[in-house]
Amino acid sequence: MNYLPNILFAIILIAGLGYFSVNVKKLIRNIKLGKSKEVKDNTSLRWKNMINIALGQSKMVRRPISGFLHVIVYVGFVIINIEVLEIIIDGLFGTHRIGLKVLSPAVYGFLIGTFEILALGVLISVIVFWIRRNVIKIKRFLSSEMKGWPKNDGNIILYFEVVLMCLFLIMNATDATFQNLEAGNIISQYIAPLFNGFSETALHTIERTAWWIHIIGILAFLNYLYYSKHLHILLAFPNTYYGRLNPKGQFDNNEAVTKEVQLMMDPNADPFAAPAEGEEVPAKFGASDVQDLSWVSLLNAYTCTECGRCTSECPANQTGKKLSPRKIMMDTRDRLVEVGKNIDANKGEFKDDGKQLLDDYITREELWACTSCNACVEACPVSIDPLSIIMEMRSYLVMEQSAAPIELNNMMTNIENNGAPWPYNQMDRLNWKNE
């Protein structure tokens, strides 16, 4: 009978981690639905970017207030999780605060004391975050794409963090042995008096309850990630690693088009030649759905935590146009999730559902409002590139649908005919010299 809690703990732990890993597999499968793109260059710079941008939060702090608060929550999250290690060991082996058996009280106290200070920091930061989202109503949290689930999602994450931090502190405050240690109870010593007058049994029950809800809460939070914008706590790392290294102005050249152009310019090419046996059918140009985007773009979509820095820097959005780079990322993820569910429901194969990313999620009006200025790419704290999705989709509209706005068609006709976007004769190109 004594082993019951240990067994129960093991079951909960395995279920929590198991369900999470099932979802991680789905996540990876969904990302791989994107077009292959080899990203193997310059590994040292990629590691450096990951360390600076994800681990070092270098782009977060460009906005000092939210950046500073985020660093506290981030450091708190990472460091307090060391405590989870102790909880897991205690839970599995029925020990209590195994750390005290391994470490000297001074070292153990120092560790837990640090966790307590961080927990308080996280608590305060999270409350400020909640106020920014719900009371001060900062503009970037109010865009139309943030209504409903995205707004609730943001708040649920904050509530989770408040509850977890409170449980951690209560757990310490009601642990008589720990309080008597007089080391590390930096914050919880001020909470302990709240429980004065409670019987020893009651205290113990509260401590155990807090302990259990805390670990169950952590596992629940872990599993919540897959359904939430909060995946960035994991995906920011691969995303900054695989983020683009080229100058931001350099857009990828489509290799399939290069082949076609070479063929057209080759005087010896036979225009009527049948394609060689086994030659690949030319893929569709650009993207109308998530499977047409590169896997990096899909990883970008899962990484986005909807902070809206991109949208707040977007010149089109600032001047009231429908385009919001954040919405481009959210739509891409929503559609990808929908495609993933479709595959799950149809035994591993995607059945046409009559929907696509273009028009059903992202409208043409949004796509044509982009000035390709890269402000969104520059603003993203985790190296997401909304611009490449916009360009892929424009490419589909023009090359597969001939559906550019009429003025752009005129401009392109001019380039084709006279080598300039305006209707001037190429032979007049040097006339300025004599004017």
């Binding site: 100058p247 931001k248 102005g249 350099q250 857009f251 050249n253 489509n254 088009v257 290069t258 076609e260 152009v261 310019m265 650009g286 010149p315 089109a316 600032q318 001047t319 009231g320 146009k321 429908k322 385009l323 009006e365 044509w368 409002a369 000035t371 390709s372 200025c373 890269n374 402000a375 790419v377 520059e378 360009m391 989709m393 424009r394 490419s395 509209l397 023009v398 090359m399 550019a404 706005p405 003025e407 752009l408 005129n410 401009m411 392109m412 380039i415 084709e416 080598g419 300039a420 976007p421 305006w422 001037y424 190429q426 190109r429 040097l430 006339n431 300025w432 010299k433 004599n434 004017e435």
Partner: protein, 263 residues
């Protein structure tokens, strides 16, 4: 004045069996747009003054394909690129300078993958080099003490991280360089990029160029300097919309330097 402009073509250099130091890629705006042609001429005057042996492609130059690519027409872009690369490689061109950040970005970043490898400089970078090498000298002249702000073209700044060359030139004029709320990597677009220059904007509550011009006017400059013919058009229009054309001038950095010396 225009008679004094020396604008040799690559074909002429070829005929003499010579190679110029640099090819000046004029660009479509620089060739055809009335406002941008003045920038082209100002830059040529400076090249002449510094005795730079340069050449233009003249009628052999064609659109780089930037607006086609940004519109989504990869095919047209690559056709343009292939044609231009054939011409440039035919002349064995090694170094290119251009006064258009869009041409600059496309030739510098997107042509190498298609077989066109050149050293490409924006005209502000090139002018800076001429100064550093002592081939060109600038005196403040009439811009001494004037309040000048620099509008970062997206395709020069964020796209290619060139922020200092144009600013260094303005400082050389002994002008008072003032910065807008959004500058350098946070610079706000003028609204022309991504082929927006050639179409009406989508429905919104303001034009982007007006928003950007307001940011500039907020800091009360006498001159809004820029380094892109399209930004120049957009900011000039913005200044007109705000009815400030008598008070605030929009000028290219090359024009500032040429005018400072009464070229």
């Amino acid at each position: 004045m225009s008679e004094s402009l020396q604008v040799p073509t690559m074909a002429e250099f070829m005929a003499q069996g010579k190679q110029p130091e640099v090819v000046f890629w004029v660009g479509c705006a620089g060739s055809f747009d009335d406002r941008a042609k003045k920038i082209t001429k100002a830059f040529v005057k400076l090249l002449n003054k510094a005795n730079v042996e340069f050449a233009v492609l003249g009628t052999e130059e064609s659109c780089t394909g930037d607006p086609a690519k940004r519109s989504g027409n990869e095919f047209l872009f690559q056709m343009q690129a292939a044609t231009n690369i054939e011409v440039l490689n035919g002349y064995e061109v090694k170094k290119i300078v251009t006064a258009c950040p869009h041409c600059f970005n496309t030739i510098k970043n997107e042509y190498p993958g298609l077989g066109g490898n050149y050293e490409v400089m924006h005209h502000t970078q090139f002018l800076k080099t001429l100064l550093d090498e002592g081939r060109l000298t600038i005196e403040g002249g009439k811009f001494k003490g004037k309040r000048i702000t620099f509008h970062d073209p997206c395709y020069l700044g964020r796209a290619n991280d060139v922020y200092e060359a144009p600013r260094d030139l303005i400082k050389k004029l002994e002008a008072e360089l003032v910065e807008m709320k959004n500058c350098r990597r946070n610079g706000l677009c003028c609204g022309a990029g991504g082929a927006q220059m050639f179409k009406d904007a989508e429905k919104g509550d303001k034009e982007i160029n007006v928003e950007r011009t307001e940011q500039a006017l907020d800091i009360k400059p006498e001159i809004i300097a820029t380094g892109c013919p399209f930004c120049n058009t957009m900011m000039t229009d913005g200044v007109k919309t705000k009815e400030q054309e008598g008070k605030v001038e929009v000028m290219d950095v090359a024009e500032l330097i040429a005018n400072a010396q009464d070229l």
